[in-house]
C-alpha cells in the first residue's frame, strides 16, 4: 500500500511569501494561540501530554512531561529556549521549516511559554544560516506588531518577550546544557546533571529546552486537539512503545528525490522510497542512518522497520532526528565512518577524557585503515576504544561518536578487512558523486 503523507508543518511552504504573517494567518495562523489563551497554563500542558508528542530533537522525551517538571510558584523566573542549532550531520528539517514558515515556530513558542509561565523566551539558532535568521527576525517583528508577542498578548494579560539569538559555530552547542552555557555568553560545554535544566537551567532558573519541530508541532495540537494528533502514528498498549503524530522525515543522499516528507510516525523506509522513486537509478541501498550520524547505521535488512521511537530502537539504533541519509553500493563505508569520526573529534568540547582522547585515537586508527596501513588488531582497538567512550562520557556527543564505528563493524567488517588485504580503499570515490566522471579529485583533507 502506498503511504499517505500528512503535511501539517509543511502545509504552507509552497505558498507565495509563505514566511509572512499575512500568509500564515490565512492558514489558521495563531489560532492555536487563541485557543491556548482560553485555557489555563496547566490545561495547555495537559493537552500536550495527552497528544503524546515526543521531542523531535533526537532523544524523544515526552514534551508535555518536560513542561510539567517546571516547578511553579517559586520566585525565580522561568525560561523557554528553542533549540534551533540543527547541526547533527544529516539533519536538515528545522532550517527549511524556519525559512518557509517562522511564524508557526513563534506561535508554538508563545504557547509553550504560556504553559510553563515564562515571561522570556529565546530561539537559539545556529549562526551559519543568515537568511533563516533574517526570516526569524522579521517574523518576530511582525508578531510584536500584531500583538502576538509583548505585553498583554491578544488582551489576555499574558506578557512575553522573545529574542532571536545567533550562535557562532559549534556542534556541541546543540546539546541542551552546552547551549545554555553558550546563551549565557560562555564556551559551549555541557553541564553536570543533576540539577536538570527544569530546576536550574538558564541563569540557574527553571528552563524548558525544546527542539524547533517539537515546538512547531504545538500550534496544530492546540488547533485540532490532542486526539487528532494522537490519532496519527503507531499503536501499543504500553505508552512507551508507541509514537504519535506527524513528523518531518528528511531524505538525502543517493536517492531519486531527496527532500522533506511529512508523514505519520511509523512509516518504513521501504514505503518512503517506493513513494519517492527509490535509490538513484541503477544502484542499490547499502547503508543508511535513521536519525543522523549519531544513530547506528542500518542496512537493506532494515527497510521494513517502522520509523518510530520503539521500532528503530528494536533494530538497535535510534530514531534520532529522522535524518535518513541514504548511501548506495558505490560508497566506501570506511571512508564514510572516518569522515564522521573526524567530525566528532573536531567537535568534542574537550571537557571529559574518554571523549576527548577516545575520538582522537579513533581518528588515527580509522585513517590508518582507510589508507591501507592498518592491521587486524586495529578493528578490535576500535571496539575497545568505543567501549571506553560509550556510557563513560559526560554527554551524548561521545556516545554518538561510537555509533558509526560499532555499527559499521557489525555490518561491514568484511569491507574493513578488504582495506587491509588490498592495502588501501577498494572504491572509486568518483563513482559515488552526483557528477560521476566529470572530475576526479583526491580526498579533501
Amino acid at each position: 500500500m502506498t503511504i499517505t503523507l500528512t503535511p501539517v508543518l509543511s502545509r504552507t511552504w509552497d505558498e507565495d511569501r509563505s514566511w509572512t504573517l499575512e500568509v500564515y494567518e490565512r492558514f489558521e495562523g495563531y489560532a492555536g494561540l487563541r485557543a491556548a489563551l482560553t485555557k489555563t497554563p496547566d490545561q495547555v500542558t495537559q493537552i500536550v501530554k495527552d497528544s503524546e508528542l515526543r521531542g523531535r530533537g533526537g532523544a524523544g522525551f515526552p514534551t508535555g512531561m518536560k513542561w510539567g517538571f517546571i516547578p511553579q510558584g517559586g520566585d525565580k523566573p522561568v525560561y523557554l529556549v528553542v533549540n534551533a542549532d540543527e547541526s547533527e550531520p544529516g539533519t536538515c528539517k528545522d532550517i527549511p521549516f524556519m525559512l518557509a514558515n517562522p511564524h508557526e515556530l513563534i506561535e508554538g513558542a508563545v504557547i509553550a511559554s504560556y504553559a510553563i509561565r515564562a515571561a522570556q523566551a529565546f530561539i537559539y539558532v545556529r549562526g551559519e544560516v543568515v537568511h533563516v535568521i533574517r526570516r526569524l527576525q522579521r517574523a518576530v517583528e511582525e508578531a510584536y506588531e500584531a500583538g502576538y508577542l509583548g505585553t498583554d498578548i491578544l488582551g489576555s494579560g499574558y506578557d512575553l518577550e522573545l529574542t532571536v539569538h545567533a550562535g557562532a559555530g559549534a556542534y556541541i552547542c546543540g546539546e541542551e546544557t552546552a547551549l545554555l552555557d553558550s546563551l549565557e555568553g560562555r564556551r559551549g560545554q555541557p553541564r553536570l546533571r543533576p540539577p536538570f535544566p527544569a530546576v536550574a537551567g538558564l541563569y540557574a532558573s527553571p528552563t524548558v529546552i525544546n527542539n524547533v519541530e517539537s515546538i512547531g508541532s504545538v500550534p496544530s495540537i492546540l488547533r485540532n486537539g490532542a486526539a487528532w494528533f494522537a490519532g496519527m502514528g503507531t499503536d501499543n498498549e504500553n505508552p512507551k512503545m508507541r509514537s504519535k503524530g506527524m513528523t518531518l522525515y528528511s531524505l538525502s543522499g543517493h536517492v531519486t528525490r531527496p527532500g522533506q516528507y511529512e508523514g505519520p510516525m511509523g512509516i518504513t523506509l521501504r514505503e518512503l522510497l517506493d513513494l519517492t522513486g527509490g535509490v538513484r537509478e541503477g544502484h542499490e541501498l547499502k547503508f543508511w542512518t535513521p536519525g543522523g550520524s549519531s544513530t547506528p547505521l542500518l542496512t537493506a535488512e532494515h527497510l521494513d522497520v517502522p520509523l518510530s521511537y520503539e521500532g528503530i530502537a528494536g533494530a538497535k539504533s535510534m530514531l534520532g532526528t529522522k535524518a535518513l541519509q541514504i548511501f548506495d553500493e558505490t560508497t566506501c563505508v570506511v571512508r564514510a565512518v572516518l569522515r564522521w569520526t573526524e567530525f566528532y573529534a573536531h567537535e568534542s568540547c574537550g571537557k571529559c577524557t574518554p571523549c576527548r582522547e577516545g575520538t582522537f585515537w579513533l581518528v588515527q586508527i580509522m585513517r590508518r585503515l582507510e589508507d591501507g596501513r592498518g592491521d587486524e588488531e586495529d578493528l578490535q582497538k576500535l571496539l575497545d576504544i568505543s567501549d571506553t567512550i560509550l556510557g563513560r562520557s559526560f554527554c551524548a556527543l561521545g556516545d554518538g561518536a561510537t555509533s558509526p564505528i560499532t555499527s559499521s563493524l557489525e555490518y561491514f567488517r568484511d569491507e574493513y578487512v578488504a582495506h587491509l588485504e588490498q592495502g588501501g580503499c577498494p572504491f572509486d570515490a568518483s563513482a559515488a558523486t552526483l557528477f560521476q566522471g566529470s572530475t576526479t579529485g583526491a580526498a579533501a583533507r
Binding site: L5, D16, E88, T91, G127, G188, P258
Partner: protein
C-alpha cells in the same frame, strides 16, 4: 580603553547597549557583540576583544576564551566572501570533496586561507543542515545548493569579478561584514528576498498535492 577610533567606538557602543538590553543578564550579549565587532573589522581583533571586555565587565582573557571556542569568529582578517564547502560525510561523498579540492587548486589557497585580492576565504564546513541539496556550498552563510566542481569555479570567478551572485535560497549576497551585523541581531530588511523553499524542501508537499489530485479524479469518476 580599546584602540577603536573614538567615533567608531561611540557608534559601536550604542549598538552594543542595544544588544545588552535584549538579555536579562549582560554576559549573554557576548556572542552577538563578538559578531558586531566582526561586522566592523571583518574579524575579531585584539581591539575587538578589549571592547567586549570593557562593555561587559569581563577580562580580555575571558572574552578571548569564548571567541576562540567558536569557529565563526575569525582571528585573521576575513575575505569579503567566506566560501565554504560542506565536506561532512554525505556532501563529501556526493561530490563535496571533489569540489573542495577543485577550488583549492583553482584559487591556489587551502582551508582558512584568503586570496591575495582579499575577496575569497576558502573553508571546508561541517553539515550545514541542507543535506537534501548535497553537495552544498555556503557563501557568507547563504545557501548554494546542488553544486558541481564547474559551478563552484564559476561561483568564485563571479565573486572575484564583482558580478552579482544570487544564492539558491537566500538574499542577494552581502559582504562578510554586512552579514555579521545581521548575526549580531540587527535586521537588514532583506527577509522578503529569495524563495520560501527549494524543490527538495517541497518534494513531500508536491507528492501530497499529486495524490490529492488523483484522488479527486477518482471521486469525479464514480
Amino acid at each position: 580603553m580599546s584602540a577603536f577610533a573614538p567615533e567608531v567606538r561611540s557608534r559601536l557602543e550604542v549598538d552594543a547597549k542595544e544588544i545588552i538590553a535584549r538579555y536579562p543578564r549582560s554576559r549573554s550579549a557576548l556572542l552577538p557583540i563578538l559578531h558586531l565587532v566582526q561586522a566592523e573589522e571583518g574579524f575579531v581583533s585584539p581591539d575587538g576583544i578589549e571592547f567586549c571586555a570593557e562593555l561587559l565587565d569581563l577580562t580580555t582573557a575571558e572574552v578571548a576564551a569564548v571567541a576562540t571556542f567558536y569557529t565563526m569568529y575569525k582571528r585573521r582578517p576575513n575575505g569579503e566572501y567566506s566560501v565554504g564547502v560542506c565536506t561532512n560525510t554525505l556532501c563529501a561523498i556526493m561530490g563535496g570533496d571533489q569540489i573542495f579540492s577543485t577550488l583549492k587548486q583553482h584559487l591556489g589557497i587551502g582551508h582558512d586561507e584568503t586570496t591575495e585580492d582579499g575577496t575569497v576565504t576558502l573553508e571546508h564546513l561541517e553539515c550545514n543542515a541542507a543535506c537534501d541539496y548535497a553537495p552544498v556550498m555556503m557563501v557568507n552563510w547563504e545557501f548554494f545548493d546542488n553544486q558541481t566542481p564547474e559551478s563552484a569555479v564559476q561561483l568564485v570567478d563571479d565573486l572575484r569579478a564583482g558580478t552579482t551572485v544570487t544564492p539558491t535560497r537566500g538574499a542577494t549576497l552581502c559582504t562578510f561584514k554586512q552579514v555579521s551585523r545581521v548575526l549580531a541581531g540587527f535586521y537588514d530588511g532583506r527577509a522578503d528576498e529569495g524563495p520560501a523553499a527549494g524543490p527538495a524542501t517541497l518534494a513531500g508537499l508536491q507528492i501530497f498535492r499529486e495524490q490529492q489530485e488523483s484522488d479527486e479524479g477518482k471521486d469525479g469518476a464514480t
